[in-house]
Structure formats: structure tokens, C-alpha cells
């Protein structure tokens, strides 16, 4: 005879499963929806910027088509050593190319120079821009990758004041593999949902994290002649 406790243990999962099945596919969309957000219809941005993401400049163009007076800004991260050494185009060159490709005139786009691109530093720079004289009434739209949404939402609460935060909205990019109706059918959808949740949970529990060491092997002659900190341990 099955005891009452065992009956509950057996029945509970069956009941939960039945409820999920009854709810249909709508519950399956929840994980993908949880890392996507768009501004409410009443929000009318006066400025827009992207925190990165594949073809995010296209999304900025869409917003500018909806609001022709929209001021588009560009964040410019510091150059990497390969860019300083002339092996790759500079961040300015890459940003200009992408803006031009999406139909903007790069020379008319104000730049916000970043000292660091790690963690919540871009948000801090945007907060400074929103609070600077002349920008007190600007409403800023921030386009970003869905996997970074939770991380930056926690960051906005941590580093921006309430009045500044009230003038900022996030707008996540659409990934073909991350649609609410299909994310579970492909590997990248699972990975993106997991990454988004992971980054958000980390931010919630531990903050933005420590900045990584910037790797710069260039010597005084501009050559990447890196050496180990203690060559004696390395040389045979």
C-alpha cells in the first residue's frame, strides 16, 4: 500500500506537468521574454545609443525613422594594443564605418569616450552625459544585446540616481534564435537565455565584478615583445 507521503511525492510532479501542458506553449516563451524588453509606447526618446550587439546600429536607424529628431550618440571604447600597433583599424574607424553603413553621417554623431569598457562603466558614462548641463531633459534609449539586459538593469539601479534612471530605457535586439516561440529549439537560444540569467544573477549577488587585467605587450619601441613576469621559471 502506497503511503500518503509517497502519493503526494508521485502526484505533485504529475500535477505540475499537467498544469504546464494545460498552459500550452505560452510558458515556454517565458525564459526568452525574461531577457527582452522594449520601451513602453508612451516613451518618446530624444537620444539613443547602443551598448553593442550584432547590427545594433540598424535598430538605432529604425528608432530615428520613427523619431526623426532623435539624437544618436556613439560610445567609443579605448583602443586595444593591436589597434595602437596599427594591426587593426581603430575603434573610431570601426564605429565610423558601422554608422555610415547604417545611413548615419559619422561626423555628426557626438562621441562619448570610454576610459574602460568593462562592467558598468558604459552606464556611468551615459549617466554623466544625462546629468551634464544642457542634457537634463534628454530621454535616452539604450539598445543592447538581450544577454546583457539583466546585468545592465542591475547596474542601472546600482550606479544611476533615480531621476537619471527615470530618463533611460533599454531596448533589446531581436535574435532569430531567441524568439519566444523558438528559443528552445536551438543551442544558441538555450545558451543566450542561460548567459542572460547568469550575468543578471552575478550582478545581483556580486555586483559588476572586478575589471580584467588589460593586456598590453607593447614595449617602448611599440613592439609586442612580451616577457613573462619571472623569466627564470620559464627559460629551460
Amino acid at each position: 500500500m502506497i503511503g500518503r507521503q509517497w502519493l503526494i511525492r508521485l502526484l505533485l510532479p504529475v500535477l505540475v506537468l499537467a498544469l504546464l501542458l494545460l498552459a500550452g506553449k505560452s510558458w515556454l516563451s517565458l525564459p526568452a521574454r525574461s531577457i527582452q524588453v522594449h520601451p513602453e509606447a508612451a516613451f518618446q526618446p530624444s537620444a539613443a545609443v547602443t551598448l553593442g550587439g550584432y547590427q545594433s546600429e540598424s535598430r538605432l536607424k529604425e528608432w530615428q525613422n520613427r523619431f526623426p529628431s532623435l539624437k544618436v550618440l556613439a560610445l567609443e571604447p579605448p583602443n586595444r594594443w593591436t589597434q595602437e600597433a596599427g594591426l587593426r583599424p581603430t575603434m573610431r574607424g570601426i564605429t565610423d564605418y558601422l554608422l555610415q553603413k547604417r545611413g548615419f553621417q559619422p561626423q555628426n554623431i557626438p562621441r562619448i569616450l570610454l576610459e574602460k569598457e568593462y562592467g558598468w562603466h558604459p552606464l556611468l558614462a551615459l549617466g554623466t552625459w544625462l546629468e551634464s548641463p544642457g542634457n537634463e531633459t534628454e530621454k535616452l534609449l539604450v539598445v543592447l544585446d538581450p544577454t546583457r539586459l539583466d546585468y545592465f538593469q542591475v547596474g542601472a539601479s546600482a550606479v544611476l540616481s533615480l531621476p537619471t534612471r527615470a530618463r533611460l530605457r533599454f531596448d533589446t535586439l531581436d535574435h532569430p534564435d531567441l524568439g519566444p516561440g523558438n528559443w528552445w529549439r536551438n543551442r544558441s537560444g538555450w545558451k543566450d537565455v542561460a548567459t542572460g540569467w547568469f550575468l543578471g544573477s552575478y550582478a545581483l549577488l556580486a555586483g559588476e565584478g572586478e575589471a580584467p587585467n588589460r593586456f598590453n605587450p607593447l614595449d617602448e619601441n611599440g613592439r609586442p615583445y612580451w616577457q613573462p613576469a619571472n623569466p627564470l621559471e620559464w627559460v629551460p
Binding site: 570601426i94 556580486a206 565584478g209 580584467p212 605587450p217 629551460p236
Partner: protein
């Protein structure tokens, strides 16, 4: 009610255990990260091999090893381009690696691309085995990012079998210190993923 009470206590104890483990991460965490790093005593080898990924760091370390005379030939793997590049004039990884190697002092004639595109460490092992069968050579000094050295060493040695001996030369991680991996989301993600890959690799064989 008794069932719920029992489960409640198990839940509470579980939470307490997790909190104790997390609180003492400074004690056990460094060993977990450092275990992933394999640093063989650098020995002169027939080839240096730069694995794909962290393209701004690994070739620089290979350049140092070359200048130290640890090998006369530098191989590099050619990762496949998964996406069409957004900026066509920005070099891809396989274009960038030989440029960095030259800048780091490697003679252009000593830079050899490993034939064939690869997607991951398993593919790199297969390409290396093909290359060694065709070109000979008994030892390879492999440069990869420090947290990747243990898994990469296992995979490459297994793929090439007795063809040659693999030695590992760890490059610094640009994203995090393996002894303090939990202090950044990138480090935590990378170390957990690396352990999952090691388990997967060991189970699957």
C-alpha cells in the same frame, strides 16, 4: 505536514551548506582555477603551435618562445569564420595571428598555417595529427590561454597519439586571473564551463 517539515529542514541545510561553501571560496577557489593551468618546463620543440582564440595574447607569447629559441617553426590553427564580418577591413583571427607573430619577431618564413579550418580544440587536434603525419616532428610546444591548457593538452595528446609529445605553454588570460576566477562574471562563467567541458570530454572519451 511532517513531509513538508522534513523537506523544509533539508532545504535549509542545503542553503546553509551552499552559503558556507561560497563564503569560503577564497580558501578552495584558487586551487580549482589553478588546477586548470598546466605549465610544462619549456623545452626546445620541433614546433610551436598557437591555438585559436584570444588572438591578441597567444601569438605574443609564442613570439617570446620563438625569440627564446624554443622552436624554429610556429604553427597556427585557422578558426572558421562563423559569421560574416561586420567590418570587412578588420582582419579576422586567422589573418591577425600571422601579423602579430611577425610583429613579435617571428620570421615570416617560419610562420606556418595548420592546413584546414577548425572549429574547436578537437578539430585542432585532428589537423595537428594530419600535419605531423605529413611533415614529421616529435615534439610540439602548444600556446593557449592558461585556463585552457589542461583540457587542450589532453585532447591534443590523445588526437596525435604517439606521433609527438605535447608540451604546454600557458598564455596569460586577458579576462581574469585563474586564481581569482570568481571575482568576475567572465571568470566564473569560463571556469565553470571549462570544468563541464572536462567532465564531458572524460565521460565521452
Amino acid at each position: 505536514m511532517r513531509l513538508l517539515t522534513g523537506n523544509f529542514w533539508i532545504f535549509l541545510i542545503g542553503i546553509a551548506v551552499i552559503m558556507v561553501i561560497c563564503r569560503n571560496i577564497g580558501w578552495w577557489g584558487p586551487s580549482l582555477g589553478q588546477w586548470l593551468v598546466v605549465q610544462d618546463k619549456p623545452t626546445p620543440c620541433d614546433y610551436l603551435l598557437v591555438l585559436g582564440g584570444d588572438a591578441e595574447v597567444r601569438p605574443v607569447v609564442a613570439g617570446w618562445a620563438y625569440r627564446e629559441g624554443l622552436s624554429k617553426k610556429v604553427l597556427y590553427s585557422q578558426p572558421s569564420d562563423r559569421f560574416e564580418p561586420e567590418v570587412p577591413f578588420d582582419p579576422t583571427e586567422r589573418e591577425l595571428i600571422p601579423l602579430i607573430l611577425q610583429k613579435a619577431g617571428v620570421a615570416p618564413s617560419d610562420i606556418v598555417p595548420l592546413p584546414g579550418e577548425v572549429d574547436g580544440t578537437l578539430g585542432e587536434g585532428e589537423r595537428l595529427a594530419d600535419f605531423l603525419r605529413a611533415s614529421g616532428g616529435k615534439s610540439v610546444l602548444v600556446v593557449t590561454t592558461n585556463w585552457h591548457t589542461r583540457r587542450a593538452g589532453w585532447i591534443l595528446q590523445k588526437k596525435i597519439g604517439n606521433l609527438a609529445r605535447i608540451h604546454m605553454l600557458p598564455a596569460p588570460s586577458p579576462g581574469f586571473d585563474p586564481a581569482q576566477w570568481w571575482k568576475s562574471p567572465g571568470g566564473l562563467e569560463m571556469v565553470l564551463a571549462e570544468y563541464l567541458k572536462i567532465i564531458w570530454y572524460k565521460v565521452r572519451g
